[in-house]
């Protein structure tokens, strides 16, 4: 927009300079010296004004080299460069469309897309209301070079990971730990209604799920949700996985353990934060094996 406006203003200025130059030439030919001098002064003033304006516009555009640098940097990543090119072309086509309703709708959509871009730019990926995150989860666990997987399970239903996709994920955990592909540890934060204070172990289905993993050599710690102190309330409802130094996944589920949102963070700071949370939770937990020892 502003560039178009500036283009129009430049045209007018050139027309004005051309008109003044033509008048000066006419007066010079007709021979009126005083009028010629006056016009020459006017022409010089207009030229100075135009020069000043041009200088100002150059000074007013400091971002252009930054943008240029950004384009050069982006060009190094061929896949992203072609995506960017396609998007830029679409934006250009949007800019050519002047219908106000379209522009309003497009701008709203673009704002949403910009937000998605911002999130992606923070190395974060969201999966909403779908179990499709388990495909990525599987891919992550099978990543060559991944050595450890630390998982925090927030269990508020006896059906936790008991459905088809959940069972498959459990099987994958067992298989990978068994093959020594990765070393898995788990902390289970259990809702109080599933682990009553008078009981040594949680609800049968949970104990059986944890026992199966323990029998495969996965080290497990347990804690009741209510044992978390006031200062550690941010650890409540935390369901996450730390995939070595590669990524952190956070799961938000409804009380029936259906996925509401699964967010995957690849930023190192997020991994560090998750590790700090892991250490705090670890301090609360008691190992599953020591509970079994106490059972007898």
């Amino acid at each position: 927009m502003s560039r178009g406006l500036s283009r129009i203003q430049n045209k007018e200025a050139i027309t004005l300079v051309a008109l003044l130059s033509a008048l000066t030439l006419a007066f010079w030919i007709s021979g009126t010296t005083s009028a010629l001098l006056g016009l020459l002064c006017l022409l010089v003033c207009v030229l100075i004004g135009l020069g000043y304006k041009t200088l100002q516009s150059v000074l007013d555009r400091p971002k252009e080299p930054e943008l240029l640098q950004l384009l050069i940097d982006l060009a190094a990543d061929k896949k992203l460069a072609s995506t960017f090119q396609a998007q830029a072309q679409s934006l250009l086509r949007i800019s050519e469309q002047q219908d106000p309703l379209f522009r309003r709708l497009a701008e709203s959509k673009l704002r949403t897309l910009s937000e998605d871009f911002r999130i992606l730019g923070e190395s974060t990926i969201d999966f909403c209301s779908t179990e499709s995150w388990r495909v990525v989860y599987e891919e992550l666990l099978k990543t060559p070079g991944l050595q450890t997987y630390r998982s925090v399970s927030y269990i508020q239903s006896p059906d936790y990971w008991q459905d088809g996709p959940g069972r498959m994920s459990t099987e994958l955990n067992l298989e990978l730990h068994d093959k020594q592909a990765i070393s898995i540890e788990r902390i289970a934060v259990i809702a109080d209604n599933l682990w009553r204070p008078e009981e040594l172990l949680p609800d049968d289905s949970i104990t059986s799920w944890l026992g199966e993993q323990h029998a495969h050599g996965i080290y497990i710690k347990l804690l009741r949700e209510s044992t978390l102190s006031e200062q550690d309330q941010d650890l409540r409802m935390l369901d996450m996985g730390i995939y070595g130094q590669k990524a952190v996944g956070e799961l938000l589920a409804d009380p029936a353990s259906n996925t509401i949102r699964y967010t995957l963070y690849f930023a190192f700071e997020k991994i560090q934060l998750a590790e700090a949370k892991w250490q705090r939770l670890k301090a609360y937990g008691e190992s599953f094996r020591s509970l079994l020892d106490r059972q007898h």
């Binding site: 020594q180 070393s183 026992g211 029998a215 495969h216 050599g217 080290y219 509970l291 079994l292």
Partner: protein, 403 residues
């Protein structure tokens, strides 16, 4: 005991007792008469009573054999283990040790070891920890123990501090090392447990079973691997794994099942004894020598009937040491609180570093004494149950003086 040999090398291989030798002879005869017939299968599965009356003599000599379950029961008694605990038997202790260390390395992040580990087992733990991506933290105590600078309490303190400061969560220790240092494992585990969590404990009991009191029922380790060919004196190797802590019994059993089925743990005797006990049969199973089972059964039965008298044996060992000292030898100054029935001795006047262990062994053998020699000039004497000393005093004295 041979007529012309004073055998002081039980820590390497225990001699067969008369009763076990008689059982071995009967077994050989039974084997040669019945081959792999149903008679022999029934005998293995159900015990000597299953033999027909035509095998009366064998039945009598092999009367202690009542099947694998009974053998396991006797082994538990010998190790002071809980009746409900479990036992695995294998033809090689190393197979069971690899199995135990594999669990340890998968379940823990950092394992405490010492420089007292048997080198072959140390190799295994290094291999397993590499696969499982866990760390090892080795505490060096050997030289200080051998020089007498550390006693029992100091060892407990040193290893506890090491465990805590290094952030360990698993333990692999020998109960008795090959030079006879008895680690106070029970006290070490208890001291650590008071201050930190222990995820899993593996003990090497190769020199411990029927040598020092194990009292496994006290629940200080998750799995202890031992064998019957040293202090139990079955002469033929038979690996034994004891386990039964409620918190780890499922983990161990389930791992054994999975890894045996996948071939990760491969020992024909282990597979066969599990079949015998569960009354199942694998028609395509590997042919396996059952002699170690029968000999171990006989030796364990005898060990239970005639228990050891450590105080008496220690007295004999001390008198042998006194004789050695009189002959110009030095006793290893290991603290009495860390000693078992193995004694290390070293010649006082001569530098024995230059004598090859085989030559040193030969000098003693020429004088009628069998023992173990080490490259640094030490000799190791370890006693069988019987008291030979008074009859062989002159042999020993001339052997000590001959070096």
């Amino acid at each position: 005991m041979s007529r012309d040999l004073l055998y002081l090398d039980t820590a390497r291989l225990g001699l067969l007792s008369e009763r076990t030798r008689s059982a071995a002879n009967a077994l050989n005869r039974l084997n040669s008469d019945t081959g792999c017939s149903l008679y022999f299968s029934d005998f293995l599965r159900y015990g000597s009573d299953a033999l027909p009356s035509s095998f009366d003599e064998e039945r009598s000599r092999l009367s202690t054999w009542q099947g694998v379950k009974h053998l396991k029961g006797k082994l538990k008694d010998l190790a002071g283990a809980n009746k409900k605990s479990e036992v695995l038997l294998a033809s090689r202790s190393a197979v069971l040790m690899r199995f135990a260390l594999r669990i340890l390395c998968r379940f823990c992040r950092k394992i405490l070891t010492t420089d007292l580990s048997w080198p072959s087992y140390e190799k295994i733990v290094v291999q397993e920890r590499r696969h499982a991506k866990c760390d090892l933290s080795k505490a060096s105590i050997r030289e200080e123990v051998l020089s007498g600078s550390l006693d029992k309490n100091a060892v407990v303190h040193r290893l506890t501090e090491h465990y805590i400061s290094q952030g360990c969560d698993g333990i692999f220790l020998p109960v008795v090392d090959n030079r006879g240092i008895v680690l106070p494992v029970r006290e070490i585990v208890a001291a650590i447990r008071r201050r930190a969590e222990i995820r899993f404990v593996v003990l090497d009991g190769a020199q411990a079973l029927n040598h020092v009191p194990l009292n496994l029922a006290a629940g200080y380790c998750d799995i202890l691997i031992s064998g019957c060919h040293k202090w139990v004196r079955s002469s033929t190797p038979l690996g034994v794994a004891f386990f039964g802590m409620p918190g780890s019994v499922d983990l161990i059993q389930s791992s054994a099942r999975r890894w045996m089925s996948s071939g990760e743990v491969d020992d024909p005797l282990l597979a066969f004894t599990e079949e015998l006990e569960s009354d199942s049969q694998n028609a395509y199973g590997e042919t396996v020598s059952t002699t170690p089972l029968i000999l171990a059964n006989s030796a364990v039965s005898e060990a239970l009937i005639s228990p050891k008298h450590p105080a008496t044996e220690r007295t004999i060992l001390d008198s042998i040491s006194a004789l050695a000292v009189e002959s110009g030898w030095l006793e290893s100054p290991v603290s009495a609180s860390l000693r078992g029935l193995i004694q290390l001795l070293r010649r006082e006047k001569y530098c024995l570093h230059t004598i090859h262990p085989a030559s040193l062994k030969r000098i003693f053998l020429d004088k009628g004494v069998a023992l173990t020699a080490y490259p640094d000039g030490y000799i190791r004497i370890s006693l069988p149950s019987e008291q030979y000393f008074e009859h062989h005093r002159q042999w020993l004295k001339s052997a000590f003086l001959a070096v």
